[in-house]
């Protein structure tokens, strides 16, 4: 007899807010810290995980993702401690189908660490490269060279990792199309399973903002809109030649190597964000942890003090998120899924919006529903605005 207990799928995200040095463009919650703080943090993360014991009973863990910051700055043992803690608290149906990703910085790895990662069950690696040109890496404030990266990639491969993702960046100051495509081609030559390519965003509060922000002295060095869009289009062309398919605005993968964890954000799967400033989505609510390290370390297990923001999503919120997150995926949103989730046809709820966006050729009809056209991607915020 088959026991049928339907448990909801859930992803776990662990935020590691530490780095060797802050990159100039980075606006993530991350900073260099001492060993003692790291250890305190690891213990706090474990306490937070334990505090979810009850909540997790209704869920089945599908993916685990260590992001940052630089998660590989933790010792292998610390990472393992956290991972085991998750496995102890949560339920996993089939360990072989569990996706466990760790983001790594090339400067923080060695053969021994790779080996431990493998042994503890990490099966996906996300490497931040950003550029294959050392002068660009220097400009960005990265701590590694292109050679460092290549060595690291080889080590990962020889340690047995068969699902590796590489992050690159376009639209860097003074970057030419040739420089960027060179990076893309070098990366493709390494044959990773997955590539993310992000157009540089100058965020407030970063070192770059002071130099390249609106009205600042070096703003003119940023590529103009048309060059930026050219780089974006070139990304798809080149990566397709090498067998990668764009499955989200900035993400490309070989067949069956899409990031399952990240995809869960766009299709509305629940996730628990553990750690400093981490965001969660479960029981139709969004939560956000404190961004204050001392508060987090002291109150990790106390949701009252740890959670600084909670939002219960109304039905309208959920529908709107379904649309603007789902449309980030190239295959678009499914009419059927919408109807199943919300009991209404998507065309009923967003009649005028869909009609107008189809007419403007920002959306097109797929077999299952609707997806962004190429121009729809370029102005996707404008498209998404219709659904909020």
């Amino acid at each position: 007899m088959e026991r049928k207990i339907s448990k909801q799928p859930i992803g776990i995200y662990i935020h590691v807010p530490f780095c060797v040095r802050k990159c100039y463009y980075c606006d993530f919650l991350s900073a260099p810290v001492d060993e003692r703080t790291k250890e305190q943090y690891v213990q706090a993360v474990k306490e937070e995980i334990y505090s979810y014991q009850e909540n997790l009973k209704a869920y089945q863990i599908q993916t685990i993702y260590f992001g940052g910051g630089t998660p590989s700055l933790l010792t292998a043992a610390q990472l393992q401690e956290i991972l085991f803690c998750i496995l102890e608290v949560g339920e996993i149906q089939d360990p072989s189908s569990l996706e466990i990703t760790v983001e790594v910085n090339p400067k923080t790895m060695d053969c021994k660490k790779w080996k431990v990662y493998r042994e503890m069950g990490v099966n996906r690696i996300s490497m931040g490269l950003q550029s294959s040109h050392d002068e660009e890496l220097k400009l960005l404030g990265r701590v590694h060279s292109y050679d460092d990266f290549c060595r690291c990639f080889e080590e990962a491969r020889s340690s047995g990792f068969q699902n590796i993702s590489i992050d690159v960046m376009s639209a860097l100051p003074n970057q030419t199309l040739e420089q960027y495509t060179e990076t893309l081609e070098r990366v493709c030559a390494l044959q990773p399973e997955h590539i993310s390519s992000y157009s540089l965003i100058i965020e407030e509060g970063t070192a770059f903002w002071e130099q390249y922000g609106p009205g600042k002295s070096l703003e003119q060095q940023l590529p103009g809109e048309s060059l930026e869009r050219e780089m974006y289009k070139k990304t798809k062309t080149i990566l397709e030649e090498y067998g990668y398919r764009r499955y989200e605005i900035s993400n490309y993968a070989k067949k069956n190597f899409e990031s399952r964890h990240n995809t869960s954000y766009w299709i509305g799967t629940s996730y628990l964000g553990i750690g400093l400033g981490a965001a969660s989505y479960f029981d139709k609510s969004r939560y956000e942890n404190t961004r204050d390290l001392a508060t987090y370390i002291t109150h990790a297990a106390n949701s009252e003090k740890r959670v600084v923001h909670k939002e219960v999503l109304t039905r309208e919120d959920q529908m709107s998120e379904f649309m603007f997150l789902g449309l980030r995926c190239m295959k678009g949103i499914s009419r059927k899924t919408f109807a199943q989730k919300f009991g209404h046809e998507v065309e009923e709820v967003y009649k005028n919006e869909i009609a107008s966006l189809l007419e403007k050729k920002l959306l097109y009809c797929t077999e299952a529903g609707y997806a962004l056209t190429d121009y729809g991607i370029d102005v996707s915020n404008y498209v998404f605005m219709h659904f909020v």
Partner: protein
């Protein structure tokens, strides 16, 4: 009853920022009716807006008791006057209620344009003028030079002029003693029929209209059947009283020489026009006090609610403001671009700004203001003359014989080093040079005739920036002159936007059209398609700019932690879009409709 010989009715006149309100505060403080704790920073300027802008908008009045060195107690009625050229008529009525005026002159800056204008106004009303040199604490103060200037330019004796610092409270008593000694006591005839001057009024939700008046002859008390001679309104007096600091103090009766208030459950300040004469309906005086005139707006613009659904709220708010401000006029109008709104008339640009701010602040309304316009006289070929306040209503050029525009005579006081730049400015604004007088070797008074429509757009700002803040300015209406005027239309994506049209002189139309297009290019957001912006006169395009199509509006990253923030950004973007005005298929932000006001900013 108070003896008239113990009353002193006076006001304070000064150029803006020379310390009028500060001196008023000190006088009130020294006379002891208020403790220091009760003193707000500036007692008389009690509207929030006034305090922020540091100017007095509505005339206010206070009655204080001063025990002079001669041992007698005197009643001082200090009538505060508005400090801006927009409110010149109100100033003149306040002056008419007084026997004397304190003329404050800044010890460092000396005489300025409004010093002269206000001083002449006071002399016109035969007031005894008491010069006072203020701000002697400033390092740059030069009282002797300023005294000499007052003697030379105005011809007042300054030998006894008190040298004070209102800010520091220095020598205020000299001022008080001089008020007693120099300002004549009123000399009304108690037995004559009632004759009182309305110099202000305000609407109170409980008492109805509260009329501020100066009794010249006779007496008024509860039960008096009063009549306003010009408006003909009649009402029975409910209460009379005097002005405490910030409060009304009822009394038995007001008699000749006194300043006070009267209530009579009147519902509208329109019945109690400033300058009108109150008399006793049962025993009326033979003739009204001189000087009454109906104040007419000089500047018009369209006011529209940002949210069309708020139209009734805007109407209510304007009606409420009008209860207190008889010079505010409005009537409904419609615009293709802006929907339903009101064409409103104001005394000047400052008055417009004040009303707009009060609507936003006190009534919580988002307002779209169209370009201000003056009243043009349009003589049609069929002989008819129409007054145009809204450019959209201008008849077809083929029906127009000629047009006339209002001209003001302006006086600009400026230090000699800036005479050149200011003359250039006046030239650019089509000014006709009338003459220049040197005040002393370093300062000059420039006299120009200027078209009113050239000074309602950013003239003050331009004046300040081209003289590093040193120029001061005053003007009065002179009349109408024929002028070569054209209507400049703005087309956005080939559609004419009525709310952006304005009337300009033919000679400056190309330049203005070009600047307008440039300005709008910066204001109109990018659309999915290219948006041409054109300026046209009579269907002929004279300038063009293009808002390029939107190429990119995309967020590269959106993961778990970004979703809430991202959603808020989208909501904000949508909210911003909602607040724009749809013209054809183009969305125009509200501030774009005010672009015409800022054409001279470089």
């Amino acid at each position: 009853m108070i003896e008239q010989s113990k009353i002193r009715n006076f006001c304070i006149v000064a150029h803006i920022d020379h310390g009028k309100s500060t001196l008023a505060d000190r006088i009130i403080e020294k006379t002891g009716l208020l403790t220091s704790r009760e003193m707000q920073a500036q007692v008389l300027d009690n509207m929030e807006l006034e305090r922020e802008r540091g100017i007095t908008i509505k005339a206010q009045t206070v009655r204080i008791v001063y025990k002079a060195k001669d041992g007698e107690e005197y009643i001082f009625n200090l009538i505060d006057t508005p400090g801006h050229v927009d409110f010149n008529y109100e100033v003149s009525r306040s002056l008419a209620a007084c026997e004397g005026a304190i003329l404050i002159v800044d010890a460092a800056q000396g005489i300025e344009a409004q010093t002269l204008a206000n001083c002449y106004l006071a002399l016109d009303h035969d007031l005894e003028i008491l010069p006072v040199i203020n701000k002697i604490d400033l390092p740059s103060a030069d009282p002797d030079r300023v005294k000499a200037e007052i003697e030379d330019v105005i011809g007042l004796d300054t030998e006894d002029a008190p040298l004070i610092s209102a800010k520091m409270g220095l020598n205020i008593e000299d001022v008080l003693e001089q008020i007693v000694a120099q300002i004549p006591a009123p000399s009304g005839k108690l037995e004559e029929p009632l004759k009182a001057l309305i110099f202000d009024s305000l609407y109170d939700a409980y008492k109805g209209v509260i009329v501020f008046c100066r009794i010249f002859d006779g007496r008024i008390r509860k039960g008096t059947k009063m009549r306003m001679i010009a408006t003909g309104a009649e009402a029975e007096v409910v209460e009379v009283g005097t002005f405490g600091a910030g409060q009304f103090i009822p009394c038995e009766e007001l008699t000749a020489g006194m300043v006070g208030y009267v209530t009579a459950s009147l519902k509208n300040v329109k019945d109690t026009q400033v300058g009108d004469t109150i008399t006793d309906a049962e025993n009326p005086c033979v003739e009204a006090l001189p000087g009454y005139k109906k104040v007419n707006p000089m500047v018009y613009c369209g006011l529209y609610p940002a949210d069309g659904a708020k139209y009734p709220d805007l109407r209510d708010a304007l009606e409420k403001l009008q209860l207190n401000d008889a010079s505010l006029q409005f009537e409904p109008e419609t615009s293709i671009a802006l929907g339903f709104g009101f064409r409103c008339g104001f005394l000047g640009l400052l008055h417009l700004e004040i009303i707009q701010e009060r609507l936003e602040r006190e009534y919580n309304l988002d307002i779209v203001t169209t370009a201000p316009s003056v009243i043009y006289y349009v003589y049609k070929t069929d002989g008819e003359m129409v007054e145009i306040t809204n450019p959209s209503n201008l008849p077809d050029p083929s029906e127009i014989d000629h047009m006339e525009e209002p001209i003001v005579s302006a006086e600009i006081m400026v230090t000699t080093e800036f005479v050149g730049p200011i003359m250039n400015l006046c030239q650019e604004r089509r000014g006709v040079y009338l003459g220049m007088e040197y005040m002393e070797t370093t300062r000059a008074l420039l006299k120009y005739d200027l078209p009113l429509n050239e000074i309602i757009y950013d003239f003050f700002d331009a004046l300040k920036s081209r003289s590093r803040g040193y120029a001061s300015f005053d003007y009065e209406m002179k009349g109408y002159v024929p002028s070569e005027l054209v209507k400049l239309d703005i087309l956005v994506n080939k559609e004419e936007v009525d709310a952006l049209s304005f009337i300009v002189h033919a000679d400056t139309s190309y330049e203005r059209g070009r600047r307008m297009c440039e300005k709008l290019k910066g204001e109109i957001p990018r659309h999915l398609f290219e948006v041409p912006i054109q300026a046209a006169i009579g269907g002929k395009v004279i300038a063009r700019e293009t808002v390029k199509a939107m190429r990119k509006d995309v967020l590269a990253k959106c993961y778990g932690g970004d979703i809430s923030r991202k959603k808020k950004l989208l909501e904000k973007q949508k909210e911003g879009k909602k607040r724009m005005r749809q013209v054809g298929n183009v969305e125009i932000p509200q501030q774009a409709f005010m672009s015409v006001l800022k054409l001279d900013e470089e």
